[in-house]
Point group: C2
Chain length 106, copies 2
DNA sequence: TACTTGTGAAACCAATCGGTTGCGCATATA
DNA sequence: TATATGCGCAACCGATTGGTTTCACAAGTA
C-alpha cells in the first residue's frame, strides 16, 4: 500500500516512535512500554510507518526490530526547501522590516 | 482551538494551498479556482491552517486575503533538526558503509 | 511434546476528516 | 433601495483513523 509520509508523521504517537527508534532499532513490545497503549496499537503505527518506508523491520529470531530509515526523513526536508528559500530571502526580510515600521507608526 | 501543525500539513490539498499562497496572499475564491473543490471546502482548509497559525487572514473590503506565516514553517524544520544531526553524523555514514559491505558479501 | 513468548491480522467501535449543500450576513454596486 | 458578490457557519454524509479485544501462528524453552 502506498502511503503519504506527511500523513504518517501527522500522528503524535507515531512521531514519538520515530524519535524513539532513531536512537536504536526496537521491537514492538519494547516500544509499547514507552506509551500508554497496547502492543497491537503500536504494531498498527509501525505498519503505517513501514508502508511509507520510514521504518524497516528486521527479523531476529522471533523478535522483529524496527529501524528508522533516516534517509526517508529527507523527503520532508526537501519539501521544506522551497520555504527555506523564502524565509532566507531578502524579500522576506524586507517584509518583516515593513511590518515593524507599520507597528511603530501606530 | 489549538491545532497541530503536523496534522495540518498531512492533507495534500492543504499543502498545495500553502505552496500557492507562499508566493502571494490570496482570497478563498481565488484559491478554490486552483482546485477541483468548492470554495467552502477551501474555506475549511483555511480554517485549519489559521487555527494552527500557519496562515493569517487579512480583511480587505468584502474580500479576505490569506497570507502564509512562513515563520511557522520553521517549527517543522526545528523538529527535523534532530534527524538532520543523525544523517549528517559520521555514525550514519559508517552505518551506510557497513550496509554496502554487507551487500557486497552476498 | 507441551508451554511460553513475540508478533501480525481481523473484527469491531467511537471519533474525526474532508467533502457537500443550504443558509445568513456583510460589503460593494446598480 | 434592490441586487450581486465574497465569505463563514451549520448540518449532514461516507470514508478513514486510532484504539481495543480476540485470535492464529511461528519461534524459543521446559
Amino acid at each position: 500500500m502506498r502511503r503519504d509520509i506527511f500523513q504518517a508523521i501527522a500522528d503524535p504517537t507515531r512521531r514519538a516512535i520515530i524519535v524513539l527508534i532513531a536512537v536504536q532499532a526496537m521491537t514492538p513490545n519494547a516500544i509499547a512500554e514507552h506509551f500508554d497503549t497496547t502492543r497491537q496499537a503500536v504494531s498498527k503505527h509501525l505498519k503505517v510507518l513501514t508502508e511509507c518506508e520510514l521504518v524497516q523491520p528486521q527479523q531476529q529470531g522471533r523478535e522483529i526490530y524496527y529501524k528508522l530509515q533516516i534517509d526517508k526523513m529527507k523527503e520532508i526536508d526537501h519539501w521544506l526547501e522551497q520555504f527555506r528559500k523564502i524565509w532566507e530571502s531578502r524579500f522576506d526580510q524586507l517584509d518583516n522590516l515593513l511590518e515593524t515600521l507599520k507597528k511603530q507608526q501606530k
